[in-house]
């Protein structure tokens, strides 16, 4: 450690806090009759979450350090292979012409496989969704994320091809080792799993219409995409449209479900409105969302008539969004769009920069404020900092 003159005090501080807490609660755990094993599990969970948050750099236990070293070596070997094969690619790119590639091509040279993987990674990372989140949302059977499947099966069975659809869209068609076929649309935010298409013709490639995963509706929880639509056997020819869209609902907010349902209905109508039954049945797994135009459940029944009129308009919107929840406790967030001020929406950011501290003295002179703070923890731009004293100036 002689090289790092200004070492970050945060990891050490956090580590010491963790140790202190764990040691102090050991007695409490034993008093309650809880096994030491659980205590260790708590510590492990705690440390893992800290590592995952990436708010602290260089934070890990010794075991993790060994694991990271091993993982590093493997990663280096993989990247070396990828680079070696990428070099061979440029002359071969002409081979991957648009219409000649078929999903059933089995004799595709290996070079094709590698090219796309970094791009896929870029696509994926650009979307901002972690591998775990993507895997979870796709409900992949194995514990392996799509990235790993694509990467680890480089030399074996996966084949990546570009397919140009009749619409002129360029879809990236990937066939992973397990036989499942993925179609990756760069514009979309998710990789959708596609079951085996019956026939793919070179001329008019029947690209499945990928109903995009609905983007997070309220911007508050990008990792909780509300709905995933897994199209089964979508044949987009204009002749007949078959769709058995399954609407799988993630544990989102109830207010989003109604909007999702509306969008699903739009999707279905766009495709001929086939099979609206199953999605609705599955949609009703949630607590029943019924449109309530009047009756019990009003919050404004005690108010005067004038206010009631205004409230009715708002309530109709509310009930459309809320689905008629009794009492409408959740009114504020849904009505926040009506507010003039933007501040509430801004405060719902993911990495809101927060400083938690104590104040020694806060001083103001006209509109000039001076802050004397101490013992603080800051999270700025996703990273953690600490201070024992902080002095600041601001103009209001």
């Amino acid at each position: 450690m002689a090289s790092s003159a200004n070492s970050n005090p945060v990891p050490k501080l956090y580590r010491s806090v963790i140790e202190d807490v764990i040691n102090e609660v050991r007695e409490l755990f034993l008093d309650e009759g809880v096994d030491e094993q659980v205590l260790m599990e708590l510590k492990t969970l705690w440390e893992n979450k800290l590592m995952q948050s990436k708010a602290v750099e260089g934070f890990h236990t010794e075991e993790q350090a060994a694991l990271q070293a091993a993982a590093h070596q493997q990663a280096q070997q993989a990247t070396q292979q990828a680079q070696a094969q990428q070099v061979l690619l440029p002359p071969q790119q002409q081979v991957t012409s648009w219409q000649s590639t078929r999903p059933t091509v089995t004799s595709a040279p290996q070079q094709q496989v590698i090219v796309q993987d970094p791009k896929i990674l870029q696509h994926m990372s650009a979307t901002g969704m972690s591998a775990a989140a993507t895997a979870a949302t796709l409900a992949l059977p194995t514990g392996v994320s799509p990235y790993h499947q694509l990467i680890t099966s480089q030399g074996n069975l996966s084949q990546n091809c570009y397919i140009k659809t009749a619409d002129g869209q360029i879809l990236q068609f990937v066939r992973a080792a397990n036989g499942a076929q993925y179609i990756i649309q760069p514009q979309q935010q998710m990789v959708l799993q596609q079951q085996v298409l019956p026939q793919m013709q070179p001329g008019g490639v029947q690209a499945p219409v990928i109903q995009q995963v609905l983007a997070p509706l309220q911007g508050g929880h990008p990792q909780q995409t509300g709905v995933i639509i897994q199209p089964q056997q979508i044949v987009l020819t204009g002749n007949k449209v078959q769709q058995n869209a399954q609407v799988m609902q993630m544990p989102g907010q109830p207010g989003q479900v109604q909007q999702i349902q509306q969008q699903v209905q739009q999707v279905q109508q766009a495709q001929g409105g086939a099979a609206p039954g199953p999605p609705q049945q599955q949609a009703k797994q949630q607590p029943p969302m019924m449109l309530q135009v009047d009756g019990a459940g009003d919050t404004s029944s005690e108010d005067e008539d004038e206010e009631e009129e205004e409230y009715d308009e708002d309530e109709d919107e509310d009930k459309d969004k809320d689905g008629g929840e009794d009492g409408q406790v959740e009114e504020e967030p849904l009505n926040s769009e009506d507010d003039v001020s933007d501040e509430e929406d801004q405060e719902l950011f993911d990495t809101e920069n927060v400083v938690v501290c104590q104040y020694d003295k806060i001083h103001r002179s006209k509109n000039k404020w001076k802050f004397h703070l101490k013992d603080g923890i800051m999270n700025l731009n996703g990273r953690d900092y600490v201070f024992s004293k902080a002095i600041g100036d601001a103009e209001w």
Binding site: L28, Q358, D375, M378, G392, W396
Partner: protein
Amino acid sequence: MAYQLYRNTTLGNSLQESLDELIQTQQITPQLALQVLLQFDKAINTALANRVCNRVNFKGSLNTYRFCDNVWTFVLNDVEFREVTDLVKVDKVKIVACDGKNTGNAAE
């Protein structure tokens, strides 16, 4: 009692999440989890008071201020946080500060 102020930090939130997971799998009781959090409050307050000694300066424009129940909450815009080693700029930051005069801590 030490301030529970630091529970909404990376460290505190990860602890709370871990405790919640253990509660869900019924490996600990909620009461025990609460005790752990109280212990965490003490530990973090002590650690910050004793084990950290660095200064930070910051400058920006004040958007809002609030003083309620002896807690100051500020929202600043276009702020620069300056330490000896480096500089961090943010568009928006929220500062929550409890009274530092008599925290009830035995330390110091």
